[in-house]
């Protein structure tokens, strides 16, 4: 079971990407009329996040293009630094929001 805060963070990042992609998707011909509904959904989502977690996410977003990055082969795909075993165990248990020790980005174990 995925930690709720981590799940909300991933959903928040997906929502931020969707808001950024609006113009591109519109060019292909899809109807995009509800940007304000997405922004409302984003606001509601941020209310579910703890303040320190949200602050961490927003700071990382300012610094990097993506605040949350996947882990593949025990490596952070943001900075390509190997994730220490202790963090892998904690991360895989899905009980914590884990930041990469190299770049600080939030780690997501997609498999």
């Amino acid at each position: 079971m995925l930690n709720k805060q981590l799940e909300f963070l991933v959903v928040l990042q997906d929502l931020d990407i969707m808001i950024q992609d609006i113009e591109d998707v519109k060019q292909i011909g899809f109807a995009v009329a509800g940007k304000e509904k997405l922004e409302e959904a984003r606001r509601e989502l941020t209310e579910k996040l703890g303040k320190p977690v949200l602050f961490n996410y927003e700071n990382l977003r300012k610094r990097y293009k993506r605040a949350i990055v996947p882990v593949k082969d025990e490596t952070c795909l943001g900075c390509f630094m190997r994730v220490p075993t202790v963090l892998i165990t904690r991360g895989r248990s899905d009980q914590n929001v884990i930041n990469c020790e190299g770049c600080g980005r939030i780690l997501y174990w997609y498999e």
Partner: protein, 173 residues
């Protein structure tokens, strides 16, 4: 409806996002495990859930919740039902590492809130990572719209049963 469909000569007027990608390249994003010609869902949300489950079962994503939320939120922006019985729910998600497309067909049709009000029978769910290799996401969406804008292709897709037949249609054979 903003998607412009093919005319009698099958010339489409879609924006050029699909250009530079040929039909056979598009086929590599499909998978027999992400192919269901007998969707049970009767509603849009159930349909999204049924197709999201295929990605989980195929181990493309860990859990369906995040992707399902993303797809529902995408529908808030505007229906992905593009008319002519077609819907292409899509989005980038942190939950996947590669671009993948699931295909589902509903015999009875599902109300997707398409602008032409027609029930949707052909559904393509396109998932892409936030930064996909070679940035293929938009060309894939564009190419898919282009293929589906051809009446002959839609008619064939309404009848295909085997995955190989389906791929032949996408390839334009």
């Amino acid at each position: 409806m903003q998607v412009v469909w093919a005319n009698k000569n099958n010339n489409t007027h879609c924006p050029d996002k699909g250009e530079g990608m040929d039909n056979s390249e598009l086929t590599q994003y499909f998978n027999p495990s992400l192919f269901n010609t007998k969707l049970k869902a009767k509603t849009k949300l159930d349909c999204l859930e049924e197709l999201t489950t295929l990605f989980v079962e195929n181990k493309d994503i860990r859990t369906g919740g995040i992707v399902l939320t993303m797809l529902r939120e995408r529908e808030l922006l505007g229906s992905t039902g593009i008319g002519k019985n077609v819907a292409i729910p899509h989005g980038r998600t942190t939950a996947t590492m590669e671009v993948k497309i699931a295909f589902g067909r509903s015999e009875t049709g599902i109300d997707f809130g398409s602008t032409d009000k027609k029930p949707v029978k052909l559904i393509f769910v396109v998932l892409a990572p936030p930064q996909d290799k070679d940035n293929k996401y938009l060309p894939i969406l564009g190419k898919l719209v282009e293929v589906l804008s051809v009446l002959k292709n839609r008619n064939k897709l309404l009848k295909v049963e085997a995955f190989e037949e389906f791929i032949d249609v996408i390839e334009g054979k």
